[in-house]
């Protein structure tokens, strides 16, 4: 394991500086789309109108970047979860928008197993979440296979967090690596309650949704109302496969979830998820990966359905991709496909690859498995393609620069 931090020569050679105009002027880049792909990362600098985007990249060409996240608390710390086909996983950190990168000196890694026992190995870090505003420099990471880690120094060193990685009950719920997604089981959707740094959620594919009220000392499953694949017992936490969970910034008591088996809403303090995806058109269904919520309206959310029939093609439905949005908490859904390909578009969007900005009207963004980056400046009413021909997109995050 690394003993001290180092510069990444890959970034030295490939990272181009952000446009000089990024610090002022009406046309100054104001939005940053952080695009993580199977073969590297790109930063798209968008102007205030969100109509012009300038590509900066590739960063880490050839490396698998699972997530690229800007710390909204300081507006400058950027973390990238990286691995390659050959090498073990690591985390890179930049505080100058990717001009230079520093590698974590202690990336997320499970504890070494006692002699004679089989230990687990982090295959990749999948999810990154900045902690509460009262805990500057603290981050959480979710890994594949499922593990929860915490950094208290802005991503340079990481340690297992809260004991669940080696808890026998949680290990049983996590299942084996054969129980997870094709690319390995994931811990994801690590959510921090903006009102309480000790109130956290996470989700596991597979292994359900969980929360702690005491900063990770105790966790409990939060799966009531969630359905599982037919023939399995919904009481068994291990059988639950939440794909993406989001908390409404305007109402932290409301969460939405895109699950392997439907779209759900949860209004705390209730523990009962309600399957609001039942209101989706029957021929579309409510299977998908991403879930996006409105920054100011807890009744508004968006999904991007995929084909989950028969052998689970995981493509758009009938080759006609569309976003669906609700403005009434999931009671009804509206198809939003203006500008998207009308047919023969067989891509889909992964769970981390769809995001919203906080402008009015809200901008929506998604990246496809075929390497296209799409955006809407009007809450999904119409769509335009920002970039094509990128590698398979794993994650899209939107940051607004001030």
């Amino acid at each position: 394991m690394a003993r001290k931090a180092r510069k990444s020569p890959a970034a030295k050679t490939k990272a181009k500086p952000a446009p000089k105009s990024s610090r002022g002027g009406s046309s100054a880049p104001h939005h940053l789309a952080l695009v993580a792909t199977r073969k590297g990362a790109w930063l798209y600098h968008g102007d205030r109108s969100r109509s012009r985007w300038k590509a900066d990249g590739p960063h880490f060409l050839g490396q698998i970047i699972q997530h690229l996240v800007l710390d909204h608390r300081d507006g400058r710390t950027l973390l990238a979860a990286a691995s390659t086909g050959h090498l073990g996983p690591t985390i890179f950190r930049s505080t100058d928008f990717g001009r230079s990168w520093q590698e974590a000196s202690r990336p997320p890694a499970f504890d070494k197993a006692p002699k004679g026992q089989q230990g687990r190995t982090v295959k990749h870090t999948f999810w990154l979440t900045p902690a509460h505003a009262d805990e500057p420099g603290v981050w959480y990471a979710g890994t594949s296979p499922q593990g929860l880690f915490r950094s208290e120094d802005g991503g340079l060193t990481w340690a297992p967090f809260s004991g669940i990685n080696d808890d026998s009950q949680y290990r049983a719920w996590m299942g084996t690596e054969q129980d997870g997604t094709p690319d390995g089981p994931k811990m994801h959707s690590i959510i921090v309650d903006p009102r309480d740094a000790a109130h956290l959620y996470f989700a596991m594919s597979g292994g359900g949704v969980h929360e702690t009220l005491d900063g990770g000392k105790h966790w409990r499953p939060l799966i009531e109302g969630m359905e599982v694949v037919a023939g399995f017992d919904a009481k068994n936490v291990a059988f639950h496969d939440p794909h993406c969970v989001r908390l409404c910034p305007s109402n932290p008591d409301r969460l939405y979830q895109q699950n392997h088996c439907g779209i759900y809403r949860l209004d705390r303090p209730s523990k009962q998820w309600k399957r609001v995806g039942k209101a989706m058109p029957a021929k579309v269904g409510d299977v998908g990966f991403p879930m996006v919520v409105h920054p100011r309206d807890d009744d508004a959310a968006w999904v991007l359905p995929m084909d989950g029939q028969t052998v689970w093609p995981r493509t758009s439905i009938e080759g006609r991709p569309a976003v669906y949005g609700t403005a009434d908490g999931g009671k009804s859904w509206k198809r939003l496909d203006k500008g998207l390909p009308a047919n023969q578009a067989w891509w889909t969007v992964k769970r981390q690859a769809m995001a919203a900005d906080s402008e009015d009207p809200v901008g929506l963004y998604f990246g496809t498995t075929s390497g296209e980056l799409w955006a809407s400046r009007n809450e999904g009413k119409s769509w335009a393609c920002i970039a094509r021909h990128l590698p398979e997109i794993y994650a899209v995050e939107i940051a607004q620069l001030t």
Binding site: A2, R3, L87, S105, K112, T121
Partner: protein
């Protein structure tokens, strides 16, 4: 043969971002000790090859004098040549 008891190590291209070269010299009486020596000079390089359970990662191979080696305790003699290879194909 490298001088002063050091061992010549041929480094696969995915690790050149650490070493800055395709050939470096290192010290160590075992493969594990040699990797620890490399990590002291190129921080982080060991974890990219060896996981937290001290197992060689799936797509990394070590050869000593042309023979495949998977045990970190495998002995190395002065004059041996160590080769770190990436083993991966497909898109």
């Amino acid at each position: 043969m490298a001088g002063n008891g050091t061992i010549k190590v041929l480094v696969a291209s995915p690790l050149h971002s650490y070493t800055g070269a395709d050939e470096v010299e290192a010290r160590g009486k075992t493969l594990g000790a040699l990797l620890a020596d490399l990590d002291s000079r190129f921080p982080g390089i060991r974890f990219r090859m060896i996981d937290e359970q001290d197992q060689v990662r799936r797509h990394i191979r070590f050869f000593i004098n042309g023979e495949p080696v998977r045990e970190l305790g495998h002995g190395i003699q002065p004059g041996d040549e160590v080769c770190i290879v990436q083993a991966l194909s497909g898109g």
